[in-house]
């Protein structure tokens, strides 16, 4: 690592750590939460499958708080925001909700959430970018519950045949992908080709790898067509135009069969991929054929895309005291670990990663590294429009119909007219 890179990485860490700790200090306005058992009724809304497993998981907490009645409602995740926004408008909110980093900006803009009380959690205990997701103007409005980062995942068996290890740089990624094609893979690498907002999230990690990013450091301006971002999109596009990745697939569900059959030999994807492959092909297949590594580094280093779920307490909820007590309980290292074992959600608390249950899985070594530097999408309310548009336009580059600069100039203009929202 060159000195320049080292300085940049250090600056990045200091900056995130600083804002994170500032966030905690500024949240100090809310009263501290005591240690007495929680009482009353507690309503939790959760989008996703967690709501199915959580009731049984909370048995210990309910035993320790016998006068508390927890009610969990499972919500279809795609309509979660619509339901919560209507409830916020009508003042009929639950006490706790789980937010996703990808979509929480517009929910947070409603000012419906309570700041995290003083001393409830320590910002340093969490992966920095996961914590930062919840900070607005220096105040934290949520506590990370789980955290994910994309990794470079590849067919170990094919790589071994080619005598290669995981690529560490952009250049090595291309060499690797070519070698995989020589080993019989139709495509050496696979990048997202849904041409939607997740595509833009994928470009965000390449942008950071190139030393760029979509927002200025003060988060006040779009910097989508910066030199570094153009370089990132050019590199991303060249993977397609040089025939190393297909601009047509795999899409979503196809990823598992394409990877299994060797149609693709590598992909940037989150840690859930292991679980999908185990479900489809069994543990033996996965042990023999899947390996993970941090994302290949660009000129500025290796960065992954972050996905994080946080617990947030509603300002108009009826039982904030009990709500915060549950949030505190769920973000203890022991609880985080138990939840990982019960459900498979990766802990947002760093200490939980030392347990053999996680540390003993070699596929997660790269994940742990990736989480240290994972980068969030721009936490602004207009990201939904801007990211969706960016994802659509990226197809032009993948198909060689426009240059990276043309596309990013266009997206920058679009973003400027959309603004940064609230």
């Amino acid at each position: 690592m060159s000195l320049k890179r080292l300085v940049r990485a250090a600056a990045f860490f200091t900056a995130t750590a600083l804002t994170a700790s500032l966030g905690l200090a500024a949240g100090a306005s809310a009263a501290a939460i005591g240690d007495a058992p929680a009482t009353g009724a507690l309503q939790i809304w959760i989008g996703g499958a967690e709501g199915d497993k959580l009731p049984a998981f909370l048995a210990d907490f309910e035993k320790a708080n016998p006068d508390l009645k927890v009610q969990i409602t499972q919500i279809p995740s795609e309509q979660f925001d619509a339901k919560l926004l209507t409830a916020i408008a009508a003042g009929t909110v639950p006490d706790i909700v789980r937010l996703y980093s990808q979509s929480q900006a517009s929910l947070m803009a409603t000012d419906a959430f309570a700041p995290v009380p003083e001393g409830l959690v320590k910002a340093d205990d969490f992966f920095a970018s996961a914590y930062e997701t919840n900070v607005r103007d220096g105040v934290a409005y949520g506590v990370p519950w789980d955290a994910y980062a994309t990794m470079f995942q590849y067919r170990k068996d094919l790589a071994e045949k080619a005598g290669l290890s995981a690529p560490k740089t952009w250049e090595e990624l291309k060499t690797f992908a070519k070698a995989m094609k020589d080993q019989g893979a139709t495509w050496g690498f696979s990048a997202d080709v849904g041409y939607d907002i997740y595509n833009a999230q994928g470009l965000n990690e390449f942008a950071y790898q190139a030393g760029g990013g979509f927002l200025s450091a003060d988060r006040k301006q779009w910097t989508i067509n910066s030199e570094a971002n153009i370089k990132a999109l050019e590199f991303w596009g060249s993977l397609f135009t040089e025939g190393l990745a297909s601009p047509d697939g795999p899409k979503f569900l196809d990823t598992v069969p394409w990877f299994t059959s060797g149609e693709i030999a590598s992909k940037d994807i989150g840690p859930w991929f292991e679980g999908w492959l185990v479900q489809a092909n069994g543990q033996d297949w996965v042990t023999a054929k899947l390996a993970t590594a941090p994302m290949p580094a660009g000129p500025a280093g290796s960065f992954s895309a972050l996905g994080s779920g946080s617990l947030a307490v509603l300002k108009d909820g009826k039982n904030p005291d009990a709500a915060w007590k549950l949030v505190r309980y769920l973000t203890q290292p022991d609880t985080q670990l138990a939840w990982y074992k019960a459900f498979g959600s990766l802990p947002a608390v760093k200490a939980a990663w030392n347990d053999p249950a996680i540390a003993g899985n070699p596929l997660l070594d790269a994940e742990r590294q990736a989480l240290q530097t994972a980068v969030d999408i721009p936490q602004v309310t207009t990201w939904n429009q801007v990211g969706t548009y960016m994802g659509q336009q990226m197809e032009l580059v993948a198909r060689g119909q426009a240059t990276a600069k043309q596309v990013l100039d266009d997206v920058q203009a679009f973003a400027e007219s959309a603004g940064l929202g609230k």
């Binding site: 996703g48 499972q74 995740s77 009508a90 639950p94 498979g344």
Partner: protein, 277 residues
């Protein structure tokens, strides 16, 4: 020569139609077969069309035993049942009055009802929600069905049908001394059976597939309806539970399919009469 050409043409026509119909049915077949597959079978590469076993009901068992599908099914039946009964009753009353009882402003009232059909339902969403909250009906089945208790389309259909009922019949009854309600129940209703069936079918389909509103009004799983419950049950820890999703879709589809088989005649007539489905 002529007849041979025609029959050959007919054969070709039917062969093409059968082929196209078969193609149209393929996705449904995939859903049906998928309902009997495990997640691994669905995700396997290359996928197989037929499940390993047609007697493996574990997806269905999981839905009913662990995922409260019994509750959701019950709620859906109650909501749809109430919707159908209330729409048929109020629409035919309104349709009868608008078509057969001359009163001042009758055309204006009918115009308002037609205008209401033009308002997209999403525009009424938040106001409706506020009203339901104020009425204390949040998280109740009544709160779910109330906004669609009388649909303008039902009034429209009943009124158009009522126009075709001969005035002479009603006048004869009036001369015999029957009151307005007696005429309505004994003379009018028996004559508009097809219209009632049409309204019942349209409102049933609407309420049965109703998704966003029940999701917003229901505050916990005990008041979820089938479509909402299906969306929740198919969320897996790592990815969508496709087996549960597909078997759940079969459960949602089944009542509609049964209804269709028995009321096919009215279905087609209803859709043709209104240009809507």
């Amino acid at each position: 020569m002529m007849s041979e050409g025609t029959s050959r043409g007919t054969v070709a026509l039917y062969a093409t139609l059968t082929l196209v119909a078969g193609l149209m049915l393929l996705p449904f077949a995939w859903v049906f077969f998928g309902a009997f597959k495990s997640q691994a079978e669905i995700l396997a590469a290359p996928g197989a069309w037929l499940p390993r076993s047609f007697t493996d009901f574990s997806n269905f068992v999981e839905l009913f035993a662990r995922r409260q599908f019994g509750t959701y099914l019950g709620n859906s039946l109650v909501v749809s049942g109430l919707t159908v009964v209330s729409n048929v009753f109020f629409s035919s009353l309104a349709g009868y009055a608008l078509a057969k009882i001359p009163f001042r402003g009758s055309r204006f009232v009918f115009g308002c009802i037609i205008a209401a059909m033009m308002i997209p339902y999403i525009a009424l969403f938040v106001p409706s929600f506020f009203i339901i909250v104020q009425m204390g009906l949040l998280n109740t089945l009544t709160g779910i069905f109330l906004p669609i208790a009388v649909m303008p389309i039902g009034v429209f259909i009943m009124r158009q049908f009522a126009l075709s009922v001969p005035n002479e019949l009603l006048e004869a009854a009036r001369l015999d001394g029957a009151g307005e309600f007696r005429i309505f129940f004994s003379i009018f209703l028996p004559l508009v059976g097809p219209a009632i069936a049409t309204v019942a079918i349209i409102t049933f389909l609407n309420s049965w597939n109703y998704f966003l509103w029940p999701l917003i009004v229901a505050q916990n799983q005990d008041t979820f309806t089938l479509p909402v419950g299906l969306a929740v049950a198919s969320q897996g820890a790592k990815s969508t539970e496709y087996g549960l999703l597909l078997s759940g879709a079969i459960i949602v589809l089944l009542p509609v399919l049964i209804l269709f088989v028995f009321l096919q005649r009215y279905f087609v007539r209803g859709i043709a009469a209104t240009g809507l489905k």
